[in-house]
Amino acid sequence: MKKISWRLVFILAVFTIAVIYVLPTLKPSFWPYSKINLGLDLQGGMHLALEVETDKAVETTIERFSQEIGEMVKKENLRNISVVMADGMRLSVKITDLTQEKTFQELMDKEFRDLRMVSRTQDKDSVTMILDLPDEETSRIKTLAVDQALETIRNRIDQFGVSEPDIRQQGTNRILIQLPGVTDTQRAKELIGKTAILEFKLVNESIDPEVAEKSGVPAGSALYYQVRNDPATNREIRTPFVLMDRTLLTGAYLTDARVQIDSQFNEPYVSINFDSKGARIFERITGENVKKRLAIVLDNKVYSAPVIQEKIAGGEARITGYFTTNEARDLAIVLRAGALPAPVKILEERTVGPSLGADSIRKGLTSMLVGGVLVFVFMMIYYQASGIVANLALILNILLIAAGLSAFQATLTLPGIAGIILTIGMAVDANVIIFERIREELDIGKTPRAAVDAGYERSTLTILDANVTTLIAALVLFQFGTGPVKGFAVTLSLGVIASLFTSLILTRYIFDYFLITRKFKRLSI
């Protein structure tokens, strides 16, 4: 008797805990535990897999070295030395006056210790050196680029205002982003994918951009475009600009960016603030270039190119450019969150509209209900009272799966619902095995009590065995599956474990209760 009451305590404890975990899902904010998470396929939203193009980050670093070496050479008056990018990853330094090599080498040792000499070839009257970054430095830059990209994207999404986004690194250079409930996926994509490199460059006034488009640009400058959509005709308007290569100021010195509304034209613009160093640079360049045009370039697109009227102190500037309010708002967000250290590429995108998600939930639940009711009716007809016991076990099974989902903070997906449905079909299996066995034992003339004992005893190992194989398959799926499929693995595993508990412990207890405690003489099976 004592043994049975302990089992009862255990069973009751399990179900109390299960109810505690499931309640918040049925009645939100009723309990301090959280609800069952719904996957993107059920609540709608966007899943993105991005690749950070880390090679570009290395390239940018090398490019910066190239510029800095060029400036140093100029400053030191070493006129016979030229620096160019050899390919994306290497620098080529050509020294045509051999007497200058020693000075150059000394300078390099002092200022650019990070660079590695790959080769040095000497001709009759010139030396060519190829320089690059050591491998550790390259991999450090790459790791840093991914870390920064992750941080920046996280910032941007936080400011965009998505509830419960999931942003994580995958492998070495991928970022997985889950944005539940996002409806304006285009905007979100634009916001995440924008590199947001802000540059200020002078307009080269010596040539007409229309001419430059055909005949090519002068050395030291390049062709850029201003691109905007004409809302009336829905056409793209591209205006060419010839800008100097030299970047005078970048967005790295930004401290803030805000949307403002121009009182005169009632148009939104983005006002930006520089830190003290940026403000000094801005003051200097505006002071030196009065009456010239300064172009504001974001990701190689010209936003505006106003004429500098006077020296601007205070470190404040404005970016205008025919924005809608949302565009201006998003621009301010990306500028505030900072630039991505390298461009990102979208490798995978899955977007589910909220109505489809709701449909999936409805269809999933309908199938579950119909399948469940059919199994219930069948079990009741086939095994009578014992069938009712099995059905009770089944209901509690579903309760346990739901509790497991919320206890482990797992995500319920459409395949996950399929997993629960499958569990309904397969969980009765354990009871079927036991009941068939009990019938066999009754057929050879055992009393109900002895038959139940023998039935459970002989079936237990078989049931354990049979379920282990499904569990193995489910666990492997969990390990290798992604997103929705993982949800399936979770519910299937939970279902298997729950059905072991309900069939081997719960139904056994119920049978024992009626046959031993209440001394029923007949078994309806």
């Binding site: 396929d41 897999a49 690749e51 285009q186 905007r187 994509k189 634009e190 590429k345 979208i346 490798l347 995978e348 995108e349 899955r350 977007t351 509209g353 109505s355 489809l356 999936s360 269809k363 999933g364 199938s367 579950m368 399948g371 469940g372 059919l374 199994v375 069948f378 086939y382 095994y383 459409l414 395949p415 399929a418 449905i421 499958l422 309904i424 397969m426 299996d429 079927v432 068939e436 066999e440 002989r458 078989t462 065995d465 049979a466 379920n467 282990v468 194989t469 499904t470 569990l471 193995i472 398959a473 489910a474 492997v476 799926l477 390990q479 290798f480 599956g481 992604t482 929705p484 499929v485």
Partner: protein, 346 residues
Amino acid sequence: MRFIKPDINIDFTGKRKIAYFISGCLIILSILSVIVHGGPRYGIDFAGGSLIQVDFPSPVSIGDIKNGLSSVNLEKASVQRFGEKEDNEYLIRTDISEAYHEDFSTQLQASLKTATNTEVEIRRIEMVGPQVGKDLREKALFAMFFALLFITIYISGRFELKWLLSGVMAAALIGAVYLLSIFEVSIPYLILAALIVTLILFWFLELKYAMGAIVALIHDVVVTVGIFSVLNIEFSLPVIAALLTIIGYSLNDTIIVFDRIRENLRKHHRKPLEFILNRSINETLARTILTALTTLTVVVALLILGGGIIRDFALAMTIGVIIGTYSSIYVASPILLAWNVRKKKP
């Protein structure tokens, strides 16, 4: 109530030649179909590409949709009805696997609206790049491989109660696979090689129950894949999940029959093996059929009511449950018999 009388005695093993013939035909047809179709048909999860699900309030013609697509440079896309007929949903597939530019969905919606003259809702967009597709393909195959490996170890240990032997098996299997992976053999061949090594090991170590279970399992997966190939259904991530579940389910059935065989071997050790096999299958027949019925009930409910997204998964499960039930009766046990006949001859 009982469908199956307790004294039922059907001569299953007597008809094993017919079963061999049917199974042989099914497997050959499956393999042929896969070959004719040039390998399994991968969905966008594995092949890369994109898929757009659109919904219209009233029926539209596929031609109109295609016209709308050509104005956004998707004239090569295939358009297919999706889900129930009254839903007016269509699936657009293309092999484009680059991110769509930001205005894409607005433009697509506008041009579909003009072309079909009705409102349109874009319900789902999925784009999988070639690199991700390749990764997912690899992951799926690894999942199949590891499931097979663990299950092999489990059944060789559990059925024969020779855990030490199963450890040896596992080591041999991993060794063989490692050796092959040094030569950069592609994963499908790796799995094939692992299977062959497994079967050879079972044969030499005389693990006949494990052999029967594994053969039944391969049978089920091959035939399910074959039927998918014949019906020209795509392999997607959920279908792979279904295949793995079928492996678990089919083994489940086999284990129950085998457990009974072992029990009966102890009980009637003087009777011929064929008698014991038949008796065991008959004794567990009620359970086999009942479980198959309840499982089939729910997966068919899912197939009919679950909607388009889960349909392929439900279909794979339905086929798998039927094949798995058949194989645990007609394939797994007769293998034991065939083994015995063969081993006694020399």
